[in-house]
Amino acid sequence: MSQSDATLRIELQFSGGMELLFDNQKTIHAKVPASFPLDGSAENRHAATIRDLISWTASNLLKERPELFIGADGSVRSGILVLVNGADWELEGELEYELEDRDEIVFISTLHGG
């Protein structure tokens, strides 16, 4: 397999109302490209990060209202919590975290009433 075809198995989870934007799916097992940008030549590519995952998820999996998922600077909208393998992404490098095969990424919306 060439580098451009390589994928990572990533388990995406959506909760706290986030799942409503993904056709009510709480879990999606995704095959995410291992490097980005997708249209870049082999030398120009870098290992996939959460930043890449967010835009890839928005273009490939998101069903509705992207403005409720995507925020400024390629991040998620403020108020969405992200966990990487069970830990707060703020401890894992946030957008710059490099994805690994079989990672589990959770998106939780806090924007719904209590």
């Binding site: 966990l83 393998n85 401890l91 589990e104 719904h112 209590g114």
Partner: protein, 396 residues
């Protein structure tokens, strides 16, 4: 999710917990930046709420306390934590769940199912009171009548009263609600943007009732209300619910997807992203402004009497809920919206036009009778019998 992290080869401990040093941290605290493992986070989260309760003397032993429960994240975590702390620290509180059914199909009916599961999971009795029973109108009915504009005004006014009426039915001393630090900061912002100083004063208080000095002119009861999550960040509440796998409901109200609060909320989150302490800073600003409002004699507000129609506490002859209902029942829903003085004038004009006598004499009698009483002035249990007749004004 099951075991995904466990199956990975063990790496040297990265991000150790700042407290126990021996377990991987799973949360960075928004308040302090501290990184904590799951168990230390649970301990710190619960203990801080306990300290808030003790430091502010929210309860007395033996109090009967209703937990305002919507099925959402905040009230679900509140019910869980109240039960846990009550057992752990022997508060000896008699806890009950109180839910309001606004009558919003596809939203509240689903969230009430969550509350019913919470009732069974936490073994706390539950009372549900509905707008339809209390007022003769569900929110679905109201939206059909008035459309989607302004319907939140009705819902907000009705909910506040409905909670009090439910609390009276349950004979409780105290209602706790799940308002968290983020909610309070949003409310401070909204009240500043609207120039609503009386509400600004109220929203920052951890515990409120009308015997307190800030007689703010807002219709409410003598039942204490408090916010044990005043200093608890939303992020931690959501993380707590996630790690404890608590069962909560999370769908936006179908009638208010773009309410004013939503903008305040996004603004606040954006501020917080730039300045970590934005939320506490804004709560502090609210408190400081309240203090200066309180010091200013010219902002003294009217004293409390009772609504001449339903007996609920009110600074006017008719409480806001009865005014709104009158509008609905007369097919003039705008009666309840906008500037209050103007509306009340319209209401009086409408009454004159339809030959109804002004209830002024009645109201002064009620006000005189209740002025010196120390009892819960609001609706007494006997008033609940009138609820059935209240919404359908016979004279209309």
């Amino acid at each position: 999710m099951p075991g995904a992290t466990d199956t990975k080869p063990t790496k040297p401990l990265k991000n150790p917990c700042n407290l126990c040093q021996s377990v991987r941290a799973i949360l960075k605290r928004p308040k302090t930046g501290q990184q904590l493992c799951k168990e230390c986070f649970f301990h710190v989260f619960e203990t801080e709420i306990h300290n808030t309760i003790v430091d502010n003397k929210l309860f007395n032993k033996g109090d009967r306390v209703a937990i305002g429960a919507s099925g959402g994240k905040d009230s679900t975590v509140l019910a869980y934590v109240m039960k846990l702390l009550n057992d752990r620290y022997s508060y000896e509180l008699d806890l009950v769940l109180l839910s309001i059914d606004e009558g919003i199909t596809g939203y509240r009916d689903d969230s009430l199912e969550t509350v019913k599961r919470n009732r069974d999971q936490y073994q706390i009795p539950l009372l549900i009171v509905s707008y339809k029973d209390l007022y003769g109108w569900s929110m679905d009915d109201i939206v059909k009548e008035i459309g989607r504009k302004n319907n939140c005004t009705f819902c907000g006014v009705f909910r506040r009263q409905a909670l009090d009426r439910g609390a009276i039915m349950l004979n409780v001393d105290h209602i706790v609600t799940g308002h968290n630090a983020d909610d309070i900061a949003e409310t401070v912002l909204m009240n500043i943007l609207r120039g609503d100083l009386p509400r600004l004063q109220r929203c920052t208080s951890i515990i409120t009732n009308d015997t307190s000095e800030d007689s703010s002119g807002i219709e409410t009861s003598k039942i204490l209300r408090s916010k044990p999550f005043k200093y608890t960040y939303e992020k931690e509440i959501v993380m707590y619910a996630y790690f404890k796998k608590l069962d909560y409901f999370s769908t936006e109200c179908i009638y208010s997807p773009n309410a004013y609060r939503g903008h305040a909320r996004i603004f606040l989150k954006d501020l917080e992203a730039v300045r970590r302490t934005a939320i506490v800073d804004i709560i502090h600003s609210g408190e400081a402004l309240s203090a200066s409002v309180q010091a200013n004699e010219s902002t003294k507000l009217p004293t409390m009497a009772n609504c001449t129609r339903c007996g609920y506490i009110s600074s006017n002859e008719l409480c806001k809920a009865c005014l709104l209902l009158e509008g609905l029942n007369k097919g003039l829903p705008q009666l309840g919206i906008g500037h209050t003085t103007k509306i009340r004038r319209m209401h009086e004009a409408a009454n004159l036009a339809s030959g109804l006598s002004s209830p002024a004499s009645l109201s002064s009698a009620v006000a005189d009778g209740s002025a010196g009483e120390k009892v819960k002035v609001v609706t007494h249990i006997k008033d609940l019998g009138q609820l059935e007749t209240m919404p359908t004004l016979a004279s209309v």
